[in-house]
């Protein structure tokens, strides 16, 4: 098992490298000179060149990448072109905000998805099943931002029960887990949770129905196990596949949703990314994408390892 973990971690290194190269290149391939975003349009050429040199934008691409990577490894993602603050500083706040939002959204989505999916799979063909399938389809197909706006209109405008913007009473101040702050979390979290809810419902329904059709369920009935005892077996068989899907969904959520965070002015990574794109703030853009991509790689690795630990049939060598 240890050898397996080691090998999987080793495999993740080239992926992480490739990801960083990609997000480094992405920004340089995109049209538009990043220097133009800093200096006024009528700035003298000498100033432009000076700025270019200062930010290392005059060196050949491979050298730029090498220098950038070297700094990244040391935890330095550069300074924002727009604000001059260290990227890591802004990113740390945004990541924390997005984590809060996505974990709560995942909690909601996974709980309801698991419930609906399990019930639908166990009672296939009944009205409960049809209801769950309908909800799942709605969750997956309703556009995020639209649902967000509908919720805002319903619960902030028509019935002013919940705040529509920001991550706390003071806008985007320090987060505290109190009622005042958590009220700001409700609408965006619900909005974000519907897609994972729908996907988990669908997946689990399929997995459970397939398990219930397997021969060993008959053996369990033949042993005299009651419904609860059989459910335990179904749960353990369904766990690896379901967790894999949940891990992937958690990854998407942690990537932050540009649309939802923008609708609710939630100061997370999506929001940060959005403003960085509009301001051509390359260091912020690179840093954010890199951190999100590494999140994703790590999460996938964890899900893989968890799956291996849960399913004895996957070879652990």
């Amino acid at each position: 098992m240890l050898l397996y973990i080691l090998r999987r971690v080793l495999y993740a290194v080239p992926i992480a490298l490739a990801v960083s190269l990609l997000c480094f290149l992405l920004v340089h391939i995109a049209p538009g000179d990043p220097v133009n975003a800093i200096v006024p349009a009528d700035a003298p050429q000498a100033v432009v060149e000076q700025i270019r040199a200062e930010y290392g934008l005059d060196k050949p691409l491979p050298v730029q990448f090498g220098l950038w990577l070297l700094k990244v490894v040391q935890g330095d993602l550069g300074r924002s072109l727009a604000t001059g603050r260290a990227v890591t500083e802004d990113l740390a706040i945004a990541v924390r905000n997005t984590l809060r939002l996505s974990l709560v959204a995942a909690l909601i989505g996974f709980t309801f998805g698991t419930l609906l999916g399990a019930v639908a799979g166990l009672f296939r063909g009944t009205w409960v099943d049809r209801l769950a399938v309908g909800l799942a389809a709605a969750g997956v197909s309703v556009p995020h931002y639209w649902l967000g706006m509908v919720l805002v209109i319903l619960f902030s405008v028509l019935i002013p029960a919940l705040p529509a913007m920001g991550a706390g009473p003071g806008g985007s101040g320090d987060w505290v887990w109190d009622i005042a702050h958590m009220r700001h979390l409700v609408l965006p979290a619900i909005t974000l949770s519907v897609i994972p809810m729908g996907i988990v419902t669908r997946t689990l329904r399929g997995i459970v129905a397939e398990i219930m059709n397997q021969d060993f369920v008959n053996t369990l009935r033949g042993k005299g196990l009651r419904r609860g005892g059989i459910l335990l077996h179904v749960a353990k068989n369904a766990a690896p596949g379901t967790l894999a899907v949940m891990g992937l969904q958690l990854g998407y959520l942690m990537g932050g949703s540009i649309l939802v965070e923008t609708v609710f002015s939630w100061p997370g990574t999506g929001f940060l990314l959005n403003s960085a794109i509009f301001q051509r703030d390359i260091p912020v853009l690179q840093g954010t994408i890199l951190v999100l991509a590494l999140f994703f790689v790590t999460l996938n690795l964890l899900v893989d390892l968890l799956q291996t630990a849960l399913d004895p049939r996957i070879k652990r060598a």
């Binding site: 050898l3 080691l6 090998r7 080793l10 060598a317």
Partner: protein, 351 residues
């Protein structure tokens, strides 16, 4: 060069005469690498088939028997060129198969295969008639004569064309589907048919029908059969000669009556003794062998059967037993039959 139509209307001509084997298998070996470790390098191999050689005579039925993991199905797939051997070669009527010899297309025209799973072997979207006519069309026969041949073959395997031609595989019973698979195998007028567990999935009464059919077709079309099965009784019934395999190697090879009446290899003897007695008054009291056939990943050294063999001695661990003479045309890979092998039951000196 004759037209494909004329070529496909009868089997390819006999080249080497009746004395030349239709198929010669020489040192056929297939090892599947096993991966593992930190960098996923090969850590060993599954020795699925190891140095298997035999000749198949024209017009005979050669039976291959053995239990799971003995390599009988891998052997058939190697012969059919469905996978690349690690070593060894297949010679068809004096010509090698592959570069410099028969092309795969020429070879597969003459060698066809029928599998155990009658449903999976048929394209579910083609009607029965289309399925049978498919291969001849690929080989250049125009549609009309191909369909005519399909109908003729359906009649030959006992399915009324008017009734079955337009049906789909799922509308047939297992026995009917297997008849269609046989008809399809015959469509290119092959000389050799490899039958891989052709009746194992069928009910007993249907099994008898299909076996009778196979015997009739062999006569009618002058076929040679390679018949692979785990069922000793069926192999006994159909075969002229029998090859017994154990863990990828040939254990025994000989004429069917000699092999069934006087098995020379202890494994063959145990396999035969494992058959239910069919007489409730003379039931078995002790199983001939204990345990399962070992895993072909790390086969025992020397004789692969020695770990379960009642006659095993120290010498069996160190020597790979050669196929020694056990009677006319009858060979067994057991040191007991190899003179001078050092086994206490073997004759002391080579003859």
């Amino acid at each position: 060069m004759a037209s494909p139509q004329a070529l496909l209307s009868r089997p390819m001509p006999d080249l080497g005469g009746p004395a030349q084997p239709l198929l010669s298998v020489r040192g056929l070996t297939k090892h599947f690498p096993l991966k593992g470790g930190l960098l996923n390098r090969a850590r060993g191999s599954v020795q699925a088939v190891d140095d298997v050689s035999f000749d198949l005579r024209k017009g005979e039925t050669l039976g291959i028997v053995g239990e799971s993991g003995c390599g009988k199905s891998t052997t058939s797939r190697l012969i059919m060129a469905l996978m690349q051997p690690t070593a060894g070669e297949v010679i068809f009527d004096g010509q090698s198969v592959g570069p410099g010899g028969l092309t795969l297309k020429e070879y597969r025209r003459q060698v066809q295969m029928v599998f155990q799973d009658s449903y999976a072997s048929l394209n579910p979207r083609l009607t029965i008639e289309e399925s049978i006519a498919f291969a001849p069309q690929v080989h250049g026969l125009p549609r009309r004569p191909a369909v005519e041949r399909a109908q003729e073959l359906m009649a030959a395997v006992g399915l009324e064309p008017a009734q079955f031609a337009r049906r789909y595989p799922h509308e047939l019973s297992g026995g009917q589907r297997q008849r269609i698979n046989i008809a399809r195998a015959l469509a290119l007028r092959p000389r050799l048919i490899i039958l891989d567990e052709p009746v194992s999935a069928l009910d007993k009464s249907v099994e008898a029908q299909v076996l009778n059919l196979l015997m009739d077709l062999k006569e009618q079309y002058g076929l040679t059969y390679l018949f692979i099965s785990h069922d000793l009784n069926v192999v006994h019934y159909v075969s002229d000669r029998v090859l017994v395999m154990y863990l990828g190697r040939v254990a025994e090879f000989g004429p069917v009556d000699a092999l069934y009446e006087k098995p020379a290899h202890p494994y063959t003897a145990a396999l035969l003794a494992s058959r239910p007695s069919m007489d409730p008054e003379r039931r078995r009291s002790e199983p001939p062998l204990s345990g399962d056939p070992p895993n072909p990943v790390n086969p025992p050294s020397g004789c692969r059967f020695r770990t379960r063999c009642a006659l095993a001695e120290a010498v069996c661990a160190g020597t790979v037993p050669p196929l020694a003479e056990a009677g006319p045309g009858h060979r067994a890979a057991c040191l007991v039959h190899a003179p001078g092998s050092g086994h206490s039951k073997a004759t002391a000196h080579a003859a």
